[in-house]
Symmetry: D2
C-alpha cells in the first residue's frame, strides 16, 4: 500500500537521522541553548538575510501558533483570520483555551483580503461603544493556505500596508512554508515574508523533519519574554538539540528548498495527469497537496494500492480527495499512479 494521504507518513529525511546519530553522545546545555540550535539559528538568519531576528525551535504547529498569539495579544485583543484558518478549525480550540477570540471572515480562495479587514474596521469605528467587542489586533495568514493557494507578493504587501494603517500585527503560519516558497506560481521569497510579517514560523514537521517548527520574531516589540511563553505553552524541549538539529540539517545545502520543490513537482505531475483526463479540482494549486474530484469507481479500483485522504462527498458518484506528496514520496510511486490514471480514467 502506498500512502499519499498526508505529508507526515514517514519519519524524517535521512540526513537528519544521520546528524542525530553523529551528535548523539555530545554533551550540550538543554532547553535550546546548545551549539546545534545556535548553528541552525545562524543558517536561518543567513537564509532570511537579517541578523536582527529572534529564532526559537518549538515542537508542533498548533502550539507554535498559540505561543505566537500568547506572545502578541493582550487578553481583550483578537485575531482576524479566514474561516478556513488552521487556528479556527483544526486546533481543538487551543487558541480559545488560552483566551484568544478569533474573528473569522469567509475565506476568499483560502485567504483573508484587505477589503474584508477594512470593512470590519470601518463598521467597528461606526459603533458608539467599541468596548463591548474584542479589539482586532493581529491578522493571521497561512502560506500556502490550508487549501494550497498562495498570497501574491502584491497581496502580502497590501496586507502589510493595511496592518500599518490600523495598528495591527501580521502573523504568518508556515506549517508548509517550503511548499509555498517553491511553488511554480508563487512569487514570494523567505526574505519577503520576513520583511512583511511581524512574526512567522518555518514549518519542519510537514517539510521533512521528525518534529519541530522554527518561530521567527522580526518585530522588536514582540521579542521580550518569549522564552517564558514557549515554556508556558508546553513547547520547551529539555533536549532542545532535537529540534535544533532538524533545522540545522534542513537549512544546510539547500535541503529544505530542494525536498519541497521536488514534492511540488511530483504533485503537479499527478495534477496534470488528472487534468489531462478532465478531472475537476476543488482548488487550484501547484503545491504538494492536490484536491481532485474523483469518480468513486476510480477510488474503489485503486484502494488496495493507494491511500488518499477522503475530503468531501460531491455527489453519489464523485468524491473530493487529498493527494499529498513529500520528501519521502518515491518517483516510481508517482509514475505508477500516473500510469493508472492514464489507463483507468
Amino acid at each position: 500500500m502506498i500512502y499519499l494521504n498526508c505529508d507526515y507518513n514517514e519519519g524524517c529525511h535521512p540526513k537528519i537521522l544521520e546528524r542525530l546519530l553523529e551528535t548523539n553522545m555530545d554533551q550540550c546545555f538543554g532547553y535550546g541553548d546548545d551549539k546545534y540550535s545556535n548553528h541552525a539559528r545562524e543558517l536561518i538568519k543567513k537564509a532570511i538575510g537579517n541578523d536582527n531576528i529572534d529564532i526559537f525551535f518549538l515542537v508542533s504547529g498548533t502550539p507554535t501558533n498559540v505561543a505566537g498569539l500568547n506572545q502578541i495579544l493582550r487578553r481583550h485583543q483578537a485575531v482576524m483570520a479566514p474561516d478556513t484558518a488552521h487556528i479556527n478549525v483544526h486546533e481543538t480550540g487551543m487558541p480559545e483555551s488560552c483566551g484568544h477570540k478569533i474573528l473569522t471572515f469567509p475565506n476568499q480562495n483560502g485567504k483573508i483580503t484587505v477589503g474584508q479587514i477594512e470593512d470590519f474596521i470601518n463598521q467597528r469605528n461606526f459603533e458608539p461603544v467599541v468596548e463591548h467587542s474584542v479589539e482586532p489586533k493581529l491578522v493571521y495568514i497561512t502560506y500556502p493556505t490550508e487549501i494550497g493557494t498562495l498570497y501574491s507578493k502584491e497581496e502580502l504587501e497590501a496586507l502589510r500596508a493595511c496592518c500599518d494603517r490600523h495598528n495591527l500585527y501580521l502573523y504568518l503560519d508556515g506549517a508548509r512554508l517550503g511548499y509555498g516558497l517553491t511553488a511554480e506560481e508563487g512569487d514570494i521569497t523567505l526574505q519577503d515574508i520576513a520583511k512583511n510579517c511581524d512574526m512567522f514560523y518555518i514549518g519542519g514537521t510537514k517539510c521533512g523533519a521528525l518534529l519541530g517548527e522554527a518561530m521567527v520574531i522580526v518585530n522588536d516589540d514582540l521579542k521580550e519574554g518569549f522564552k517564558y511563553i514557549i515554556k508556558q505553552t508546553g513547547q520547551l524541549l529539555a533536549k532542545g538539540r532535537t529540534a535544533g538539529i532538524q533545522f540545522e540539517t534542513l537549512f544546510t545545502d539547500n535541503l529544505y528548498i530542494d525536498i519541497c520543490e521536488h514534492a511540488n513537482k511530483q504533485a503537479c505531475m499527478i495534477r496534470d495527469a488528472l487534468k489531462a483526463k478532465n478531472i475537476d479540482f476543488l482548488y487550484e494549486t501547484s503545491t504538494n497537496q492536490q484536491f481532485p474530484i474523483l469518480p468513486n469507481s476510480f477510488i474503489e479500483k485503486t484502494k488496495n494500492e493507494f491511500l488518499f485522504d477522503a475530503n468531501k462527498i460531491i455527489s453519489p458518484e464523485l468524491s473530493a480527495v487529498r493527494i499529498c506528496t513529500s520528501w519521502a514520496t518515491k518517483d516510481e510511486n508517482v509514475e505508477k499512479l500516473i500510469r493508472i490514471i492514464d489507463k483507468e480514467l
Copy 2:
C-alpha cells in the same frame, strides 16, 4: 430629550426601590442565602411550575452566560450559536477568555436551525479524526433573539429533540425574556422554556430591574458546584439580597409580565405608525425593540427631541435605527412620537 435608544436608560421599577427601602435595615446572611432571595426562588418556581429546579441570582447578562458555559462545558467542548449571538459579538470575548470556543452559524432570521446543527454533526462524523476540532456540546439560543425575532414552540421542541439525538445541551439566554414571553406572535411560555432547556436565565436588567439575572438550572446533571462557578465568574454579590429583591418584586403580582407586555405594545404602536407610512424595517418583530429604516431627514428633524440608537447605514438618505421601549417609557412620549411620525413622514 426623550431617550428611546435602549431599555436601560432609567433606574428600576419604583416597586423595587420601595422594597429595597422597606427591607434595608433587616439583617440577613450574605451571598444569596437570604430570605428575600429565597422568597424570589419560590415565586419563580411557582411561575415555572416546577419545584425541582435550582435558581441563582447573578449580576449581569454577559457573565451570566459565561457562568453557564463554565458550568456546562469541559474544556474541549464547544458552543453552537448563530453568528449574531450575544456571546459571539457583544461580550468582549469573555467566553473565549474562559476557554470556550463558539462554533458560529449564519443566522437564519436571528436563529440557529436544526438543519444547521444536523449538517455540522454529519460532516463532523464523516471526518476520520474528530479530536482535531472541538466537540460540540451545547446549543445556545436567545429568546427573543438579538434582532427581536422569536423561536416558535415547534422550533424550540425540534431543537430539544435534535439536542437529545446528539447528546447536546440546550441553553437559553433570556436577557429580554419578558418581552419574548409577552410578544403578540410568540407562542412559548416560561413553562415551555423550562421543559425544553437544560439551563436558561430570566433577564432582570433589561426588564425593569436595577441589575440582576436569574439563572435556572433544570437538568439535574448540571446542578453540582454552580455556587463555586458563580463566585469564580465574579458574580457573587456579598449583599445577595440586592439581586434577590429585584426578582421578588418582579415576580409579585405579575409585574414582570405586565411591564414587558406594556413595553411591547408601545413598541408595536410606534411600529404600526411607521408601517402606515410605508417605512421598511430591518427585521420583523413585535417585541420592544424596533429597527425601522428611516430617512435621515426625519432623524435630523427629531434629534433634539428623541434619541434613537444608530444601527446601520443603508444609503446616503436612509439609516436603520433601533427604537426601544421599556417599563419606564411614558405613554405620552410614545404618543408624541407617533404624532410626529404622522405629521413628518
Copy 3:
C-alpha cells in the same frame, strides 16, 4: 438577634437609597458614562488630590482584583502576596481561572515585607535559567489586611521603593479601605495610597454601599484598554449609574470617612471591654473587625442575642470569633454587648 458577624448584613446607607430614588427616572447613558458616575469621579479625584487618574466603578471585590491583574500582567508574569491574601484564599481561584499565578509568602502579621520580596528576587537571580518559573511583576497588598492590621506609611513607602528597584507594580486591595483610613493607629491617607500605588480600589460594599468598588489607576502605563477588561471580567453594569451613585453619595459630605470611623470606634469599645476582662485576641487591630478568643460558655450564653462569626477552634474551652461593626451597627447594640461582657466575663 443582633448580627455582628460581618459588615454586609444590611442593605446600604440610607442616603444612597434616597439618591437612587431621587434620580431613578432620569434618563442616562449606560455602562458608566452617566452624570452620576462622572460626578462621583470628580469627588474622588478631589479627595485624592490628583486629576490625572482614571476611575472605574465595578461591582464586587473579587472580580475587581482580578480585573486589576488582567489589566496589569502579561501571561507569564505573577503576583507576589502574603499567604493570607484575599486573592489567594477567598476568591475560589478566580485569579488562576484567568491565568494568574500567585507567589505566596508566609504573612508577617498579615503583611508581605520588603525583606521577603528582596530575598525572593535574589534567589531567583541566582538561578541559571529564569524562564522555568513565572516572572514576578506585581506586589499585592491589602489595607487594612485580611486580619485588620495596617501597613505604616514607612512600610508603604519602603514597598514602593522596593518595587521601583525591581521593576514591579504595587497594587492595593481596599475592600475595607475606609476602616483603614480611619483607624486610630493608622498613619496613611488616601493621598499616600495614590502616591505609592500604581493601581488600587476603594471598597464600597463593605463600607456602606449596596455594591460597587471604585478602581483607581494612577500609573499612566496601566490605563489603556481597561474598559475592555472590565467588560471581559464581567463587571460592566448596563445601568452603570447604580454603582456610580453609591460613590457619589459616599464621597459627599465626608460620609465614607464618617461611617467607617464610627464603626471603628464601636469595634474598639467592644475590644476594650473585652481587654478589660483579660480576653486575648488573635490579632491586634483598631479597625472594625475584632478577633477575640472567647470562652465557649460565653458564646453559648449569648448565642440567642448575638451572632458572631466562628473563626478558629483554640482549645476545648476557647474559640476565636470575628466581631464586626459597620455603618449600620446601632450604638445601643454595642452598649448592650458591652454590658453583657462586663457582667458575664
Copy 4:
C-alpha cells in the same frame, strides 16, 4: 569537560536511534495511531500487568502534567501538592495559565503527607461557606520527588486510602520514574503505582529518550476525551511514532529498568565516596540525583573537568550542588571523579 549537571545532556539511548533508523521509511498513520505506538502500549500494559488502562505518548513533562490536570479537574477544583512540586515551581505557571489553582503544603522531606491533607479538609469543613475557596480534588505526588526522596509503599497506600475517604484523585508525576523504581531503598513497583494512582506518567526524556512521556490512565472515569485534551494542550505529534518508538525501545529487553538502575548505582558510588570524606548532603537519596554540600575550593579545583549544577549557597566556604548521572554517564568518568574525591577532599 564532563557534564554531570543534569540527566538530559546527551541525545538518547543508541537503541532508540537504531530503531528510528530501522523504521524511518515505513508509512504509518499519524497522531499516535501507528504500529510502533501500539506495540509500545502493549509492552507497557504487560509491564504494569493491567490491560484495562489507556496509554498516550506526549512530548514533555510540564505539558504532560498540565494535560492531566486539564483532563481531571473541573474549573473550580484544585490540586493539593507539596510546595516543592514541579507543577508549583518549574512550569512557568502553565497549570495556572490553564486555570488550575495549586494548594501548596510545606514539603515533608519532599513529600505531602496524609496528615496535611486531613488537616486541610477538616479546617475546610469547619468553615460555614465552602464556595469562597476552591474545592480540593486531586493530590499530586512525584516519584521520586524533586529532591530524590521516595514515598514508601505504605505511604502510597495511605495516600490512596485518604483520597478514597475524601473523594480525591491521586496523580503521580513520574518524570524520573525509572530512577525511583530501581532505587535501592525503594519498595514500590510499577504495578503498585498503577494500583494506587488514578493517573500517572512514565518519564521518557530524563530516562534515556530523546523526548516523550507515557501517560497512563487507570481510573475509567478519567478516560473519556483525553485525545482532545492532548491536542488542545499542544502535545499531539503529527508523527506520533517518534514518541511511540522511544517507549517501544525502552520497554523492550528491560532497557528502561537497566539503564536507570545503572545510573543510580553510579550516583550512589559518588555519594558513598563523598560520605567517606564526611561530606554532608542536602537530602538523603539513592537515586541518580545527589545533592552534596561541597567546599567551594573543591568545586573550583574541579571546574575545568566536571560540570555540576549550582543549587544553593550554604556558607562563604560551602555550596550545595546537584550531581546527576544517566544512561549516558560513563563508568570511567564516575571512577575519575571518585579518584579526585579521594585525593582532594
